[in-house]
């Protein structure tokens, strides 16, 4: 039964041009599509194959390729399989279409990606900030954002050898670990 469904699905997906389907396991299918074909693919999956549950939209920042990868994970309650549709969009200007009219959960994920990566989704119902409402820095999940540099600029570190600890050490207790030994990233430099 499930093999039949899989076969049927593979045939169905051939209808879209430029598509590459890889079956990773009996319940996981990876699909790579050109960015402009994704809405058609999702419509096909939802309307004709029963993939009605949008599990998540993940975003990956491939800064070396100057591209964002968007991954749409959709699940079918009938055939019990998960299709991950991968697309790539240019990092600049970082605009893509919303799939809210197909999947309502997309609103949350698109809003999240918008504030974390700065990608704008056309047609999404709400692109306001949700988590970072009081944040005025750049979108923090982008690879070029260096959070340690941000912290060094805005926040101060706790003193690692305060007076009270010295007293404890003099009595034979406590451990002093200098900050340069604590932090991997600082140690390398």
């Amino acid at each position: 039964m499930s093999q039949q469904v899989a076969h049927w699905l593979d045939n169905l997906l051939k209808e879209i041009e430029g598509i590459e389907v890889r079956r990773k396991s009996s319940r996981r299918v990876r699909v790579d599509v050109p960015a402009d074909a994704l809405p058609a693919l999702l419509e096909l999956l939802q309307g004709r194959a029963g993939y009605i549950h949008l599990s998540a939209i993940s975003c990956v920042d491939w800064i070396d390729d100057d591209e964002f990868e968007l991954v749409y994970h959709v699940w079918s309650y009938e055939s019990h399989s998960l299709v991950s549709a991968h697309i790539r969009i240019a990092r600049e200007p970082g605009v893509y279409l919303s799939v809210y009219d197909l999947y309502q959960p997309a609103a949350f994920f698109e809003r999240d990606i918008h504030e974390m990566y700065g990608i704008h989704f056309e047609g999404s119902p709400n692109m306001e900030k949700f988590i970072l409402t009081e944040w005025d820095g750049p979108p923090p999940m982008r690879k070029e954002f260096d959070s340690e540099a941000y912290i060094n600029e805005h926040l101060s570190w706790q003193e690692y050898n305060p007076e009270w600890l010295q007293e404890l050490v003099a009595e034979g207790g406590g451990v002093i670990i200098p900050p340069e030994e604590q932090r991997f990233s600082q140690k390398k430099k």
């Binding site: 923090p140 926040l155 570190w157 305060p162 932090r183």
Partner: protein
């Protein structure tokens, strides 16, 4: 704490010998009826229900949760404070009536804990408000929370837990750190300087460059005009 010790404490000679006895009694009573503000800022809050309920039972020490800041004595900072939460924590702290005590639970309040690399959390709580007691651990067990609160009770009883006075005496320092993080035009609805005058707790550090900056940006709060339901009329254009 070291900063606290540097503050000269002026011992006033009191004429009435009973006055000191009365003060001791007040401190004793204060330390035995503590209300904790119910504000779960972080993950340490998950160990508070066990500490409060049947098993560890904090109520036998006279410590109870309280939902409104005006009636609470202790502000428990249970874990990391994200910068967005820190603003609310400061607002809440300023709304609480004196004497008030701040207890930082979890390592994150001490030095940022395991989120030291995170852009979203504050690293040192005592930069933004004076802290009476830290309970370290990730997360501290209910026994540790209770033993920490007992230590706080001892300190209240002996009069050492007076960090709330430090907030008035060194307001400029705390305000400066808040302004550094939240921007120059940061202000809260509570007028700390007037309160400090009222409590006679003006210190050398109460006023300074940061409070001057605050005055520049401060907008006076106006009382809203009171409207009752049956008097409502559409505004005349």
């Amino acid at each position: 704490m070291s900063r606290l010790q540097k503050i000269p404490v002026v011992e006033e000679k009191k004429g009435n010998p009973l006055a000191r006895v009365f003060d001791d009694l007040v401190r004793f009573c204060r330390s035995r009826s503590l209300f904790i503000l119910h504000y779960c800022t972080g993950c340490g809050a998950i160990e508070l229900p066990p500490a409060m309920t049947s098993r560890f039972d904090m109520e036998r020490l006279g410590i109870q949760p309280m939902v409104s800041p005006r009636q609470a004595d202790i502000l428990l900072i249970t874990g990391y404070v994200s910068i967005k939460t820190l603003k609310r924590v400061i607002l809440t702290y300023e709304q609480m009536g004196s004497p008030k005590y701040v207890v930082g639970i979890c390592s994150c309040t001490v030095n940022g804990g395991m989120y030291w690399q995170s852009y979203a959390t504050a690293k040192k709580l005592d930069e933004y408000m004076p802290v009476d007691l830290y309970i370290a651990g990730c997360m501290p067990r209910p026994e540790a929370v209770i033993s920490g609160l007992q230590k706080l009770m001892d300190r209240i009883n002996s009069g050492e837990a007076d960090s709330w006075q430090d907030y008035y005496r060194n307001y400029d320092y705390y305000l400066g750190n808040q302004q550094k993080l939240f921007g120059e035009d940061w202000q809260t609805p509570t007028d700390i300087i007037t309160e400090a005058k009222h409590y006679e707790l003006m210190g050398e550090g109460t006023l300074g460059q940061h409070t001057r900056l605050l005055e520049q940006h401060q907008k006076p709060l106006e009382a809203l005009e009171m409207r009752l339901g049956h008097n409502i009329k559409e505004p005349v254009e």
